[in-house]
Amino acid sequence: MENLKYSEILQQNKILKEKIKGEPFKVSILSNITVNSFKEIAEYSLRLNGINPVVGIGNFDNIVQDSANCRDAKMVIIFYDTLNVVDSIAVFFDEMDDAAIQQVEQKIYTEIDMIFQNLAGIQTVIFNKFSSLLFPSRFVQSTKLDQFVGNLNAYLEKKAPRNVSLGDINKVIARLGARQSFDGRFYNSSKAPYTLSFFKEYISVIEPVIFRITGKLKKAIIFDCDNTLWKGIIGEDGMTKIDMSPASAHGKAFFEVQRIAKYLSKKGVIIGICSKNNPDDVEEVIVNHPDMLLKNEDIVIKKINWTDKITNLRDIARELNIGIDSLIFIDDSSFEINLIKEQLPEIVTLQVPTATYEYPAAVQNYIYKYLDLNSSEEDKKRTAAYKQEFQRQDESAKFQTLDAYLASLEIQLDIIKDDESQIPRISQLTQKTNQFNLTTIRYTESEVEKFMKGNNSYVFSATVRDKFGDSGLTVVCIVTENEPSSATIDTLLMSCRVIGRNIEIFFVNHIINFLKEKGYDTVYSKYIPTAKNPQVESFYEKMGFRVNKTENGIKYYSLETEDYQEQKIDYIKGVAVQYN
């Protein structure tokens, strides 16, 4: 963005406008100065992030009035600029007497109150704080204007409601320098004080706010290993030569980045590894290197192999059950970074700077931009779910047998039949679940609905809870009737989040018992192999089904309900079964 010329932005914008569709994201900009060149820059930046923007600029110097007329905006940005405030009241601010200044302050306070009130229904408002940075100043003593600005900002801080974020415009000016931010020519001719550089910087600092309300925040950071988590190459340099020591000039940056990553993992950000290496080499570093801060308990997912990183990153997203656009990928190799930029442009990438001392700050900037560590309720819940997963793993160390561990989790299943409120989730699971999925048949919502409403078919689903939290609806089974005495299990799947707890056995027990009570003597089922589901290729055998034939790799089974031997899973407790 910073590297694009304005004319290029205008051109790119035209092209992107045709590509980026979807729900319009309406932004209203209210100001007492001219900010028209911001419109194209803001629209361009939003489109780059896959958001379809409608940016409207209010009438010049009409903030209060306009604030009453932008109810349908998702976001409102307010440039109530000190330059024009001062312009309208004084040539030389120090000339003004205190009483006059106070009067102006009171007037602005009233306006601020009205603006906040008018914008109460807007989801997100960014109100730029007042600034005296573009005015002549003294070094050792504040000016009257500094005090005036200080008072206005104190009022903003005091009164800003929850939906209003105060933007610190001084930080934007500090990054660019006043000379690059302000253009006196256009201020005098058109009341347009800010340069294109200023607006490019400005949009980049408010992007995190936009990402938050549009759900574009990232959830996971995936690191390469060599020259990314440590200095050096483990496969060549070996344990003693790689460096991530806080005491060494080259290692320090890597130590700091690991420290940050460790903190993020505690805050619920998913930390992962995607590296071309021998898994044993990396494992050796993680477990035994004295300077290695990131340990296995901090790392949620690892892809250490010689497969290309596109495949690995796709797998990571799928296995974590998050969008590919929720990933940040960090690697030192320009080859890998460019490959991902080209093939998976949805992934935000960071190449480790060649000047490694810049590396920790670069990571921090990404954190501020793409993550929200003070997350919303929804996010907190999700973070909690991942944390629970950690706790479950921790707990597993305490118990000698898996059964004892599973019993300690106090797992509870709520099985429901034909729950129409869950149609979207069930359809989604049929489409996304790959590993524990016996037939991998994908169903649309209307198809699921048909199964539910049909007299001769049943859709069972289960939500899973344990003492650490709620995993939600994660198990699905669809059964269809063949003739009054027999039925077929069309679909049986379970989200990878709840694999490994014998929930499937418990679930199938219930279904077979249900079918038996309904008078079905025979239950048919099948296993259709895919690249992802070998772990369930013998599932029905384990459940006591008989293989009748195998054709093209597909196994066809049957079970006489009369003969069904239920495997008791005692540690799954307090099941509440609701059949609508």
């Binding site: 010329k5 304005y6 004319s7 205008l10 006196g184 020519r185 256009f186």
Partner: protein, 80 residues
């Protein structure tokens, strides 16, 4: 010196949102309908960025046709 004309045509076309074929040496504030004060400002900014020059304050308001724009750009480029 390389002619600045193609670049200026391109910029005018982008800023005023008209096909580049419609721009000529005779183009001016009067012949291009979309040439309003906001776009004028955008044009100046785009020109400055494109050529790496700063157009003096007193000239900003004067650049109301193609020939004047070309003149001032060459004048500023010549200073370097």
């Amino acid at each position: 010196m390389e002619s600045v004309q193609p670049k200026i045509y391109q910029l005018m076309s982008t800023v005023f949102e008209i096909p580049v074929e419609e721009i000529s040496e005779e183009s001016s504030l009067d012949s291009i309908e979309s040439w309003d004060s906001i776009r004028h400002l955008n044009l100046i900014l785009a020109i400055e960025e494109e050529f790496g020059i700063t157009i003096p304050d007193e000239e900003v308001g004067n650049l109301i046709n193609y020939k004047l724009i070309e003149l001032i750009i060459n004048e500023q480029l010549g200073k370097h």
